[in-house]
Symmetry: C3
Subunit: 262 residues, 3 copies
C-alpha cells in the first residue's frame, strides 16, 4: 500500500461526512491507507483535536500525513497549513490545532496553502475538509511537495492554554486539560516537572480540587477499587483516575491538580 493518511475530525460517525472524505481521498490517491483516528472530537472543540493530534503523532512512521479538521471558522479567511514535523505532515486549518505539536517539536517546514489547482473544482463554504484539506492531503500522498501548495510561513495560531503546571512555593499547581473516555483526567503537570520536584524536594502528595489523594502511584490498580489515584499516564502527563470508576464524576472536568512536597 501507499502512504498513510490519518483522519482526526469532529464530523461524527452518523452522517455522510466520513464516507465523503474517504471517497475524495481514494479518487485522488487510490493506494493510500486511511486510518480513522477519531471523528468524535467534540464539535468545534479545537483543544480536543489538538490533544489527540499531539498524542498520535509519535507513533506513526515518517511520511505519514495527518489530516486534522475541527473547523468552526470554515468559510472565513483562516488559512490552511501544511506543516512538517519529524518527517510527517499535518494538513489543518490554522486555528490552534497545531498548538501542542508545535510547542514540543521543531517544525521542519510550514506552508500556507494557496494554490487552488490542488483543490476540488467547486469549493463550498461549509465543507473545506472535503473540498480543500482532503485533496491537499491526497496530493501530498501522491508525492507533491509542501512548497508546491503555497508559500512558506512561520506564524501560526496557538491556543491560550497552559500546557505546563505552575511552580508554587510548596510544589506545582496545574489543571485538567483533557478528559478521556474512561473519565480519566489528564492534567498539565508534566512528567519532567514532577521529576524535577521529586529529585529536589522528595516525596509528594497530590491534591485534586483540594482533596489529598496521596502519593503518585504507577497505575490505577495500585489503589482499591473505587479509590482515586494519580499516576504518570501514557500521555506523559500526570493523570487522575478512579480504579474501575470515573474520576471526572468524582472531581470535575476542569479540576485543579496540585503537588505538594511532604
Amino acid at each position: 500500500m501507499g502512504r498513510i493518511i490519518t483522519l482526526i475530525t469532529d464530523y461524527g460517525w452518523r452522517d455522510h461526512y466520513v464516507g465523503v472524505l474517504h471517497g475524495v481521498i481514494l479518487r485522488i490517491a487510490p493506494d493510500v491507507r486511511i486510518v480513522d483516528v477519531t471523528h468524535a472530537v467534540e464539535p468545534h472543540d479545537i483543544t480536543h483535536g489538538a490533544f489527540v493530534l499531539r498524542q498520535v503523532l509519535p507513533w506513526y512512521p515518517a511520511g505519514t500525513i495527518h489530516m486534522a479538521v475541527v473547523d468552526p471558522g470554515v468559510g472565513t479567511d483562516r488559512r490552511i497549513l501544511v506543516a512538517q514535523y519529524g518527517g510527517q505532515f499535518i494538513v489543518t486549518p490554522d486555528n490552534g490545532l497545531l498548538t501542542f505539536v508545535h510547542r514540543d517539536l521543531p517544525a521542519e517546514e510550514m506552508v500556507s496553502v494557496e494554490n487552488r489547482h490542488f483543490f476540488l473544482s467547486k469549493i463550498s463554504s461549509t465543507f473545506h475538509g472535503r473540498d480543500m484539506i482532503a485533496p491537499v492531503a491526497s496530493h501530498l500522498a501522491n508525492g507533491v511537495r509542501p512548497r508546491e501548495f503555497g508559500r512558506v510561513t512561520d506564524r501560526l495560531e496557538i491556543l491560550p492554554i497552559s500546557w505546563e503546571a505552575e511552580r508554587t512555593s510548596s510544589g506545582l499547581c496545574g489543571q485538567v486539560i483533557y478528559v478521556d473516555r474512561f473519565g480519566t483526567l489528564v492534567s498539565n503537570v508534566q512528567v519532567k516537572q514532577l521529576e524535577s520536584i521529586q529529585e529536589e524536594r522528595g516525596n509528594v502528595s497530590v491534591f485534586v480540587n483540594g482533596e489529598n489523594i496521596g502519593s503518585i502511584k504507577s497505575t490505577f490498580s495500585d489503589v482499591p477499587i473505587g479509590k482515586p489515584v494519580a499516576f504518570v499516564g501514557g500521555s506523559g502527563n500526570l493523570e487522575i483516575a478512579v480504579n474501575q470508576g470515573r474520576a471526572v464524576d468524582r472531581f470535575s472536568p476542569d479540576a485543579e491538580v496540585c503537588i505538594e512536597v511532604r
Copy 2:
C-alpha cells in the same frame, strides 16, 4: 487493492455485527478495500440511511459497491436489489433506501437478487446483511455481473417523502428532512428551486417555524456566534445552522422552512 465496498448500516459499533460483515467480505473477496461510511444510522431509520447513501455516492469512483443495510423487514419476503447508477453498484434491501439516489439519477440496471448460489450456505432470518447482502457485494467485487444474481426488474420501493419544497404564492415552503451531528437542519428546499425564485423575484427571507432568520448567507460564520443562519450546504439543499451552536435545539427536527420574496 481491489474494488471498494462501502458499508452504510444501522448495526452500531458496540456489537459484533460490523466485525462479522468485514470477515464475511474478506473471506470471499480478500483484496477489496472496505470503507465504514457509517454504522450509526438510527436503528430502523430508512430515511436516514437513504440520505447518507445519496450524499456519499457522487464522491466514489466507478466500480465502487455500496452496501446499504437498514432492514426492519429482515426475514420477510422483501426483495434484495443490486442497482447500478453511474457505473457504481448498490446492494440493499428493497425498502426505500434507494429513494433519493433513484429520484436524482438514472438507474443503468436493476436486478432482484434470487440466485441462492451466491448466499452463505446457511441463511438466518435476522441477519441478511451477513448471509445475503455482504456475499452479493463481495461477489460483485470479484467481477460477477449484476444479471448473474437474479432477474432484471424496474420497480422499487420509494419512501413517501417530499424531497422538494412546494411553490407558494409568496415563495417556497418545505421542511427539515435530516438533522446532522452538529444539529444542523437540512431542508428539502433545493438549490435549483432557490435559484429559480431568486432570479424571478429577487431577494428572499427565510422563515423557520415562522421565525424570520434573514436572507441566505454563504456559511454559518456570516452571523454572530449563537445566531441562526440559512445557507446552501454541501448537500445541495438549504440548511439551517446556529453559528457554533445547534439549530435543532433552537427550532425542531421537523421544522417548517419557508422562503418569502422580500
Copy 3:
C-alpha cells in the same frame, strides 16, 4: 495485503488510543489489514468483550489475529496470552476474555507471553495494549510463531457465567447474557438445548420475567410492530426482541428467560 489483525477494545473512539494502536501496528507490520471490530465495549466490561470475540471468530479466515483488550487489571501481574483456535490467533490479557471461545472450541496452542524482546522498548503501566499486545499481534502477523513469545500454558481465567440455561422439570430456565444496540436480549438458552426439548416434549412457550410471550418464531417481523418475540438469533442463542422496538426497555438487561412445554 498481508494478514488481518482485528481490534476489539473498550478504548472508545473519541480519544487517541485507537489511532495510537494503528500506528504501532503499522510501524511493525506495514502490510497488515486492520479491522476495527469495535472500540465501544463498555469500559472494563470483560463479558461484553468476550461475547463479541466469540461472535466474530467463526467468520474470519485461518491466520487472522484478533487483539482483544478490555483490561481493568492493566499494570498488575495478570498474564498476556497468545491462544490459537481453528488456525486463528487471539492476543489478550488473561482475564476471562477467552471464556466463550474456549468453552466452544479446542485450543490448539496457548502461550503465556514473557519474551520482552517483542514489546516496545519502554513499557507504561497503563497502556499495555500499545506497549505489549499490539506489538505481539504485529510480530505474529510478520510470521513469528506463538512459542517464540513465551512458554506454553494450559490454564486460563474463565468468567463465572452460565453460558447454558438450566434444565427444569417443565423445560429450561436461563437468563439474558448480552444486550445489543437494538435493545435485543441474547439469552443463554442455546439452540441445541431448545432443539432437544422440542424434539422430546413438543411445542414450547417462552416466559420473560414471568410473562408469556408465546412460541418461538423465526424472526421479529413474525409479530405485530411493538410486540415481543423470541427467536433463535444469529448468535445461536434464543433472543428476545420487540418488533421495531427495544426489548431491554420492556423487560430488563438481566431478565430471566424460561421455556415451558405446552
